[in-house]
Amino acid sequence: MTAGRNGRNSLLAAAMLAAGPAFAADAPPAEGLSEQEFLREVPVVLSASRLRQPLDQAPAAITVIDREMIEASGAREIPELFRMVPGFVVGHVVGHDGVVGYHGLTDNFPRRIQVLVDGRSIYSLANIGGVDWSALPLALEDIDRIEVTRGPNSVSYGANAFLGVVNIYTRYPTQDLGLQVSVSQGEEGIADRFIRYAGTRDGLDYRISLASRRDHGFDEVNDSQKLTFANARAEYRLDPKNTLGVEAGLSDGNQGIGEPDNILDPIRDSEVESNFVQLYWRRVLDGDAELFVQYYRNFDKVRDNFSVTAPPPFPPLVEPINRDKTSTRDNIEFQHTFAPAESLRFAWGSEARWERVESPGLLGTEATQKNSFWRVFGNAEWRPAPAWLVNAGLMYEDNQLGGSMLSPRLALNYTIAPGHTVRAGVTRGYRTPNLFEEKADVKVSLNGILIDQDILARGGLKPESILAREIAYLGEFSSLRMSVDARVFRESIQDLIGEHQEKLPPGFEQVFPFSFFNDAFNFTNNHWANITGAELQVNWSPFSTTRLVLSAANMDLDASDINDDFFVKNPNRPTYARSAPRNSMSLLAIQRLPGRVQFSALYSYYDEMDWLGSDRVPSYNRLDLRLAHKFKGSWGSGEAAVVYQNLTPAYTDFAEENTFDRRAYFTLKLNF
């Protein structure tokens, strides 16, 4: 845990393994057990900068989804896990396109939550911003835990850590030594495969996973998916102080998209591709300090080429449409963590990023669009008195999109009594406009003639800014085996970017009937939103065989209206103000039964809400059940599990045509 950076990279490089002969020379020749075992100085492994900050000392609200919760939830894909986080909503634009929102303002491309996997940002500029979970080369089996910061954290992660931050930490190789094979098969065409080998030798810890995921998606929607992917992680300890790490992954798949009777969006398959490589070096310095240097490159590609034929009464012209998208990101960063005094910890560092995006269908040009930024930050954790903890930090960022931004944070944690902490915090964060909002040029033309200009971004956007204030209580009731995390918050968003119909400038003459209005969407900073609410999280083990995880949120979202589209006055059209459920909750119950059997249930409830750019969905319940049996043999161990998703009546997921029915699948997992 780094002071103030909420675990950034804290364990991603965490382990070093048995390797170097460096220390062997210090000891006399080994001859069995001797006093040397007791006298030997060993290197500091769990330095203060590497340890995870306990939740009651963090400067922000954090929800941890641990391995047990991941397994018990019965989830097949990462987005589903966020049902267990207070205030989060999860939807599916189509079956393979999960979206995760927090505190509303969520559409097909949620772009106000930053997501990092082992410290590598997968928040992309290639789409309309946000995260494409569907092509991410990462299996649930390889995730160790997910830490979700509820609230802005631009001070640690820069712009776009706006409403929240998701940190995914993958399993370290030595946690899963050996061979694991897993097969899932079920309704709706569910067919997932996973095989992993993890090993350790001569100071090198490594694992490699191969996986595939298939399903048919929703019944009435062309949204089947086939994804094949690989993921690898290795760490090598050069000597007791230096560790090198590498992670890499790639995926390749097909996804059904399009609608049956939409000539501009016909039924078809798009091809997705994603890969990354990440290299890091960690050096332990004297005096509980650490230096971390990292480089990574992400590459994402969607191939979606099709043609449309003009319907009558137009002449039957065939127009090729190119919706291909590629994006490449290069990122370098370093961080230095040190403790100048027992009561003071400090982390500072810098990061720079270069991105290149090609998206002729959305940006109206074959040319590569570029963006870059650099950042510098410092975070201090100071304990002036045993009961008081001050977290203060500052981030400065200079971004080609959005200019320069200064994000400060101040949080005070006061321990009333052992196990009872209150926190008050205030912070500012930013979201930069993305390339689409700044440069979108989406149109339909036929034979070089502009039919309809759908979107024409005029550019010059400012970043959105958020000011968040919170008061929280964290209680640890050890005798009851219960922990409670409750908070109230107020978030004020200024310069919120939204879309408007605007008259087109000269040179964009459309054909009738589009010429009648002669307008297209543009993005402006004309909006605002104020979000107030309360969130509760309770983790309780009433018995050693039982665990309950409750999350609940109540929110009041006050916002300017979403668009002034004057010829659509649909009273049910989605609005910012209704883009979050007023009340939502989830309860995960895990019960261990005799005979290595485990039963778990995940229930969630959401009030009615609007998904922006889509539909209003009524309130709904969802209940998932999982029953698992573990077994052991001389050959290894295994687990057989059956999962029922949504035992409650079918509900509307994101859009009216998406009906989430009951579905069941089973999984067989073997470890050798």
């Binding site: 845990m1 364990l11 965490a14 382990a15 070093m16 393994l17 048995a18 390797a19 170097g20 002969p21 460096a22 220390f23 062997a24 210090d26 000891a27 006399p28 080994a30 001859e31 069995g32 057990l33 001797s34 006093e35 040397q36 075992e37 007791f38 006298l39 030997r40 100085e41 060993v42 290197p43 500091v44 492994v45 769990l46 330095s47 203060a48 340890l51 995870r52 900050q53 306990p54 939740l55 000392q57 160790d144 370290y172 030595t174 946690q175 899963d176 030594l177 050996g178 350790t200 030798r201 810890d205 300890r237 007791p240 052992p418 196990g419 640890e476 050890s478």
Partner: protein, 319 residues
Amino acid sequence: MLARLTAVFAAALALALAAGALAPAGAAGPPRVVGIVTGEEGGAYAEMAVAIESGLAAASSGLSVIRVPVPAGRDGALQARGADLIVAVGSRAARAALATEHGLPVIATLIPHGAFERLVREHPGPAAGRRITAVFMDQPLRRQLDLVRRALPGRQRIGVVLGPDSEQQGPMLADLAADYGFRLALERIRSGPELMPALQRVLQESDVLLAVPDPLVFSSETVQSVLLTSYRHRTPMVGFSPSYVKAGALLAVSSSPGQLASQVTEILLRMEKGEALPPPQYPRYFSVHANGHVARSLGLRLEPEEALEQWLKRPEARP
């Protein structure tokens, strides 16, 4: 004539003194000259030697101390001339003291129990009449389990990985764990590559990892993997030296060279008064070390080190 007589007298005296010094100690009364052999140069070895010497001086003991050099080579003979009791500091010194037929009583210290027993087995020597005892440097298992029970209430699944040099502790551990109502997850390994898989199995079934010293399991080369793996499982490790606590173990109970020296000094003072060589014993003086950062990170609230120490020192806990 006088000069001649004086010379003869002096020679006779010298001969008598030499004979006295060389006489089998068994025949002698209480010790007068303590020979301290240190197994290695400097560090804890020198610290112990100095502490014993100054401890005796502080007690105004009549015992004098001489330094006996450790013989070169694995089985070199100890030149213990002038001493009538040997204090062997460290395994190498203990081996030399056991391998040499000097007939003197030996107090071995700064040596783990297991290493001492192995030396005694390997050097049966003139078994009859040999007088040897030890102040071990490791803590009795009971004391460590006591610490776990007090410091981490509710954690009842104890994980242990034993290697070739510690496996003989397995049955004893199992008995003690049963006494304490602990569930023991125990794995034995015979080679380095078995360590991580064994540790993983143990961690899956335990909520505290008890480190039992064994060079195959705990060494400078393995400590990083072991500590990080247990930390990832959110399973705290109870180590056996302050160095491990500094490195990331949650707790350790251990005795410093100074504390061992105090116990040896007390034995010497009692022997000076005519008491017999006591039986081999565990440390009477010890300290508890805790890593506050690790405790906080794991969400554990520990009693202060001194309070844990006091509890371990309560009379009924004495071995």
